[in-house]
């Protein structure tokens, strides 16, 4: 079973990021939204291999991050819905 993790806090919220990363397993998807997208520039070392690393386009654009080199793939709102469908579990981290 695969899980979609939705992370909305910035990397400065160490506890939130660490709790989320602890829960990630290979085959899962980690989607950054809201202030979480500030973490889109570097793939965390603790993120297991085989976890798909995504960021929500609307939040990247809002924050002036779309033109920076990112470690995530940017997805739109429709893809966000598809991610929920493709993964049997959705867990939000905030």
């Amino acid at each position: 079973m695969s899980t979609l993790h939705i992370l909305s806090k910035p990397p400065s919220d160490n506890d939130c990021w660490r709790d989320c990363l602890t829960a990630c397993s290979s085959g899962d998807t980690l989607l950054l939204i809201e202030n979480g997208v500030y973490g889109a520039t570097v793939r965390p070392a603790e993120l297991p291999e085989g976890v798909t690393f995504l960021a929500l386009q609307a939040d990247l654009e809002a924050r002036g991050l779309s033109n920076l080199p990112l470690s995530t793939k940017a997805i739109d709102d429709a893809d966000f819905v598809n991610c929920c469908i493709e993964n049997q579990q959705t867990v939000s981290w905030f």
Binding site: E34, N35, V81, T90, F94
Partner: protein, 130 residues
């Protein structure tokens, strides 16, 4: 697929309210269903009839109302969280001897059992926290 959405952020105060509304629109645009939107914690302010954002900000509460009307959505505001924050319907306003009620049209006040019920009856539950 059937979704339920949990909203814990206040509109025009935390982004989670807007994220949730945008997500709800995307769910419906792709032909999926929404069993319930449950507003808890500070999210209860999404059901406030008195919220008046600035005109150039996009009105989140009206956004929920329009979506609910078009798609017959069940927008439930957690009664315990709402009462302690001062959002209530006519019945609760009378019960607690308050001057007025202020629950926005299209929203209903109910208990946490509605969240459990939504979780049982939905394929996916997505929380937008704060």
């Amino acid at each position: 697929m059937i979704f339920s959405i949990v909203v814990q952020g206040a509109p025009h105060s935390q982004q989670s309210a807007e994220s949730a509304l945008r997500f709800a629109r995307a769910v419906l645009a792709q032909g999926h269903g929404i069993y319930r939107v449950f507003f808890s914690g500070d999210g209860i302010h999404n059901g406030s009839a008195l919220a008046t954002p600035q005109q150039d900000e996009g009105h989140i509460i009206e956004g929920w109302q329009a979506l609910a009307k078009e798609h017959e959505l069940d927008l439930v505001v957690c009664i315990a969280a709402a009462l302690r924050r001062g959002v209530m319907n006519d019945e609760e306003a009378k019960r607690h001897d308050k001057l007025n009620s202020n629950l926005a049209d299209g929203f209903t006040l109910s208990g946490l059992g509605q969240l459990t019920d939504a979780a049982i009856h939905s394929d996916r539950v997505v929380t937008f926290g704060s």
